[in-house]
Symmetry: C2
Subunit: 423 residues, 2 copies
């Protein structure tokens, strides 16, 4: 078994945390920003230093490759993204890039024999913070391979036209056209060139910490569905309209929300999560009874049958009136559970067991670049414990030791694939 | 008993409904707009035609006065406002102006003897649609007479600086400075010049219609308090954070809102109204558990003891956690119940009984110009039935017959005051 260097990993964490430093422990590093360029410059500097070849494609995805001993072997890729949300942390995304760099550095420093070329990669604009959608450039590359009903989201023209929600008038295509690391389409990853992808990421939840485990062997990305639950009432004057005659859409929504929690919790699935994070109220005036209220509900679970049970509860809301308001349930979008390649998952589990690190199987509730790439090439993920489960915020933290362990697991899993194949 | 002219009233309703016609039955007639000028031109034209003297003050409040037989008697004033909310109806405010005009026209046409000068008035910017606050210019005139804790809202400088929420960069003072009907401060109404004010208005609620009554004898404007109820939770990722560990501020607010309805309804006061019309949610993203939710609650009742009971229920929310979120209850503002002058209320009740119209005593849940003027001079109000209780919307309607009845009630109440005094 090989282990990565804690010292080298700590130095990378410290260095990358400077690029986009928001001044209170975290970073704001939007895709294609100056801070993004600084992070990519650092990637090029360190990868060039170990003799890696740097390529960039037309979406500014980057690839640093060291050759293997077999001239016919396809690349084994590792990586993630280096952009962040606004006031995000120092680990989400970049840990996957640093781990990939660390694997290449360890292989080079310790002269570890391997047949396949090894590639560390950066996917552009995973967060979609400035230019939606999320996972934009992994989605773009996987476009032709993904199920038809998802394709429209990642049509090339649509992404190029994606408007900045930070800088009015700016599009992703316009900003990309003059970006330092825009390269050739021919350099994009493809199944012809790539054997498999490993993505290391922080968990972004508290499950590993609560179980006292450092490493998660990820088995799938949960299926997810998003609905809007709408209530139609009747506006009237706050001072003159008697309570009994009201059709209060906010009261209706509040009552239905409590009912949803009761009914969904009765199903008894501990690993089911659902979130009502976004609301619309009309007219939103303190002296007017609301005539419209709408909330989002995001539901995630591995088993489509469980999602179906929640769907039934959601649609049951439409069958009655809530505070004399009509209710309508409308699908936003959904996606199926994406299972990682079983052989790769086993290599990861074998690697972490060989290394003797504490670990458990886990699923990913969040979306990741790997989930789109999995439509093109065999893929898997490794999770590193997140302190208190915090993510997408500046206090996000994972110790240098656990980050290094995650890289070591990826290194040994990659070497198992390199040696045994079996995909 | 005298009765006003249905024909003349119908003509006024038809004519004024053209000024600011929004094209589907109602009007948008902001204060100081072109449509406002058209309505005031019509007021001047009709009042000049009966020989009334027109005055305007520095706030563009307008006064049309016909003399009485006693040179030492103070004016008896009648009136309301002629501005509207966006896409408002043809009755809110303007009915009080038209009724005042109708009284003066009837007195003139029928040569009705009276000692006091009679004044029809228009108060500027009651709605505060473009320039907050509501009841701006009646508040400004009553500033020195109102309780100290309300005065700050109606300080002259603050009102002049009130920024347009429709036209960026524009202030009320700037717009007023070039307004056709801006006049002298010396023309403002004052207790030295004015004996009393009568305001006729549509009810804006369904109580009269439900009781089968045409006319409301208004006894008071309800006391009102506005609070914000805030919930502090903890943001986390929708896909990765287990349900049991969540501190969901929206779920907390929904649960507390249902609890409030239960507890307040238990108090059993049928004439208590409370409204939760405005919300703030943070971060308002469908993939993030909300860490903050805040709703307004507007509560109105005549009896301060009832308001106190509701206040106790509100503050009881702070004593426990809601879905592991802390709750904080913060006062926005409050006002006491304003009782109309008892002698004037009796004159109105006597007048409607003499005329034989169906009527009942009623309180006003909405605020009106009269409530600020009542701090300066004795004041009362007359309500006309609102169809379906609709107001602040284009379908707002009161029949020409009921509008004329309301004017007739005001005419006879004014004549009782003119003859008997007694304030």
């Amino acid at each position: 078994m090989y282990e990565c260097s804690l010292e080298r990993m700590s130095d990378k964490i410290k260095t990358f945390s400077k690029y986009g430093d928001a001044g209170h422990g975290g970073i704001t590093r939007y895709a294609l920003s100056e801070a993004d360029i600084m992070a990519r410059d650092e990637f090029v500097k360190r990868m060039t230093a170990i003799g890696a070849t740097i390529e960039t494609d037309d979406l500014a995805n980057m690839y640093a490759t060291i050759p293997g001993s077999d001239p016919n072997a396809k690349r084994i890729m590792m990586g993630s993204h280096c952009d962040s949300v606004k006031n995000g942390g120092n680990y989400d995304g970049i840990l996957g890039v640093m781990s990939a760099m660390e694997v290449l550095e360890t292989v080079t420093a310790e002269n570890i024999p391997h047949k396949h070329p090894l590639t560390a990669t950066i996917f552009t604009n995973e967060e979609g913070s400035e230019f939606p959608p999320c996972m934009m450039c992994s989605g773009a590359m996987a476009h032709d391979y993904m199920p038809e009903r998802f394709r429209d989201n990642f049509a090339y023209d649509k992404m190029m036209a994606s408007e900045s929600i930070v800088e009015p008038g700016m599009t992703f295509g316009k900003k990309l056209s003059t970006f330092k690391y825009k390269g050739d389409k021919a350099n994009r990853m493809s199944p012809e060139k790539v054997e498999a992808l490993f993505e290391t990421h922080i968990e972004q939840g508290p499950i590993l910490e609560d179980a006292g485990k450092d490493i998660g062997v990820v088995t799938c990305v949960l299926g997810q569905m998003l609905y809007r639950v709408k209530f139609y009432g009747f506006a009237a004057h706050a001072g003159t309209f008697p309570m009994k005659k009201r059709h209060d859409a906010f009261h209706a929504a509040a009552e239905a929300l409590c009912y949803l929690h009761e009914e969904i919790d009765k199903l008894g699935y501990e690993d089911l999560v659902y979130t009502t994070g976004e609301v619309v109220i009309h007219p939103d005036v303190n002296t007017v009874i609301p005539d419209f209220f709408d909330f989002s509900i995001d539901v995630r679970h591995e088993d489509p049958e469980v999602l179906n049970k929640v769907r039934e509860i959601l649609f049951s809301l439409e069958k009655r009136e809530w505070q004399q308001c009509k209710c309508e349930v409308v699908l936003g979008w959904n996606r199926d559970t994406v299972y990682w390649n079983k052989t790769l998952v086993n290599y990861v589990r074998d690697a972490v067991e060989d290394l003797g690190y504490s670990h458990m199987d886990i699923h990913s509730g969040a979306g990741h670049d790997a989930q789109y790439i999995s439509y093109m090439v065999p893929t898997t993920m490794i999770f590193a414990q997140s302190e208190k489960g915090l993510s997408h915020c500046e206090p996000e933290h994972t110790s240098d030791e656990i980050c290094t362990k995650a890289a070591s697991v990826m290194l040994n899993a990659v070497l198992k694939l390199d040696e045994n194949g079996g995909l």
